[in-house]
Amino acid sequence: MGGWAIAVHGGAGVDPNLPKERQEEAKRLLTRCLHIGISALRSNLPAIDVVELVVRELETDPLFNSGRGSALTEKGTVEMEASIMDGPKRRCGAVSGLTTVKNPVSLARLVMDKTPHSYLAFAGAEEFARKQGVELVDNDYFITEDNVGMLKLAKEANSILFDYRIPTLGTCGGGAAMESPIQMNGLPISVYAPETVGCVVVDKEGRCAAATSTGGLMNKMTGRIGDSPLIGSGTYACDLVGVSCTGEGEAIIRSTLAREVAAVMEYKGLSLHEAVDYVIKYRLDEGKAGLIAVSKNGEVACGFNTTGMFRGCATEDGFMEVGVW
């Protein structure tokens, strides 16, 4: 017990027919991010800095759904959101509706560190970014060909699509293996968020931190906010634990999933692993989601009720694992 621990994720809900090459690519990225985090931890960077660093890497790589490679809104644009939380004093920062900020998680950090607020969105957030001199790019930068293809499919199917459907095949092979369109808020659309990214870390001093970043739901209405920037839903960190969630945004919000892990540890005295299992099993109802978590004691855990979750974790004693299923 004790020592540092880190976990990263690239989203819950994976197409069972995902080509091997894509799986390998994902694992390579997760491994690379773990190594970045591990290096930082060995250099004694505090947890809050490590989660930001790792999520920046995930945002910059176009593979998962955050920063470059974000899912597209119904208008074909990108609107990104992120949040970050520092366990020790539960300081937090969040942003939504970003269209030109290269690294949303870093802007969330600036909201936390440089404003009297916790959450900035849309034009106000972009203006703040400009004033802070963070790196800005055109909205085009974030848009990938893959996702343009995905959006088209989503519109044809007139449903919300989950990521990693194979664009070229046009068969529903991947989709059929998953559930048929699920009811969400009473509407017959298939609900599956494309792959959000996140990182949770506990450093040598036992400080926990968490960060989550995403482009959101493919074909979402403009202005739609999901769970990733909502403290207590997609992201949470306190003295005991750091948590980052991914999956059906609306389900994660309803179940305040990230806070739930901490609450059962705090109020029911469950261990990290027990808490994660309990929350995934009993708190999601019909919802599909996954999460990664670390405890102040250097433990790391992940749980998901989806078919697969891109994830990786490592602890100071040398343990390291990257997985998809």
Partner: protein
């Protein structure tokens, strides 16, 4: 068991010396809105309809910080947010950055019922409102002279605070917005339970005086300012940033469930753990209990139960 309802018009540093011309209209507003809620419950309306109806009334009332009477952003504009949640189904809806919609709470309800999403904000929310044919007006409709004055004082205080190192609160006129942007009005909210244990909550606000454009507070963040499940319905008010960090509304229900304590005990427990002077909340439980704790100087509030009890208060009884 019977129905129960509680409403609030904001927690904050409400001075005990609040002059009658400021106090009476607010008390009258609380009375009227409470009566609207009571009538709706007596007519067997579902709590979800009741809380929306009551919050619409509170939004229309110019003396509370929601809808008309919303506080202003640092550029003098209005950016409203609202949230509604049904305890039984756990369905919810939220909006932020709304500047022309007369009743933001109704927009939040439409997001919940007419979209596959929970939360819409800014341009997207405004566009959706128009698609749905909701009543929209010029932003000036929401702006009151009181709030123009509040913003002016908040900005002056900020400016002075840069020049001097001591806190400005002591020198500020009692009625003014304080240097940190706080003022004696907060947010509005309503929680209700019917005699079948159906629970609902609704919260609406203009946010923080002099807030940065684009700032989102606790109100639309499920689990922070607003939350309902099978146990209770909660609406919080106060310093948004503290309520978010403290996941206040969610914690009341969590503490009830995990510690097995009553609503009153859970609500008091949660308010105690948020920094002094930052929060208050109203809550009802599935068994008709009511709690209205706050750790600020005061909280505009009112409640009523089917057995005929009713109360309107601003200060005192912090454990209620």
């Amino acid at each position: 068991m019977g129905w129960a309802i509680a409403i609030h018009g904001g927690a904050g540093d409400i001075p005990l010396s609040l002059p009658p011309e400021k106090r009476l209209p607010r008390e009258a507003g609380l009375r009227r809105c409470l009566d609207v809620g009571i009538a709706a419950l007596k007519s067997r309306n579902h709590p979800l309809d009741v809380v929306e109806l009551v919050v619409r009334e509170l939004e229309n009332h110019p003396n509370f910080n929601a809808g008309k009477g919303s506080v202003l952003t640092t550029t003098g504009t209005v950016e409203m947010e609202a949230c509604i949640m049904d305890g039984k189904t756990m369905k919810c809806g939220a909006v932020s950055g709304v500047s022309t919609v007369v009743n933001a709470i109704s927009l939040a309800r439409l997001v919940m019922e007419k979209t596959p999403h929970i939360y819409l904000a800014f341009d997207g929310a405004e566009a959706f409102a128009r698609e749905q044919g909701l009543e929209t007006v010029e932003m000036s409709h929401f702006i009151t002279p009181e709030n123009i004055e509040r913003l002016k004082q908040a900005q002056e205080a900020d400016r002075v605070q840069i020049d001097y190192t001591q806190p400005i609160q002591k020198e500020a006129p009692k009625d003014a917005a304080l240097a940190d942007g706080d003022s004696q009005i907060g947010t509005v909210g309503c929680v209700a339970v019917d005699n079948e244990g159906n629970l609902a909550t609704a919260t609406s606000t203009g946010g923080l005086v002099n807030k940065m454009v684009g700032r989102i507070g606790d109100t639309p963040v499920i689990g922070a300012g607003t939350y309902a499940n099978y146990l209770c319905a909660v609406s919080a008010t106060g310093r948004g940033e503290a309520i978010i960090r403290g996941t206040v509304a969610r914690d009341v229900a969590a503490v009830m469930e995990f510690k097995g304590i009553s609503l009153k005990e859970a609500a008091a427990y949660v308010i105690d753990r948020v920094p002094q002077g930052t929060a208050g909340l109203i809550a009802v439980s599935s068994t008709g209990e009511i709690a209205m704790p706050f750790n600020t100087t005061g909280m505009f509030r009112a409640c009523a139960t089917e057995d005929g009890y009713s109360e309107i208060a601003i200060w005192d009884s912090p454990s209620k």
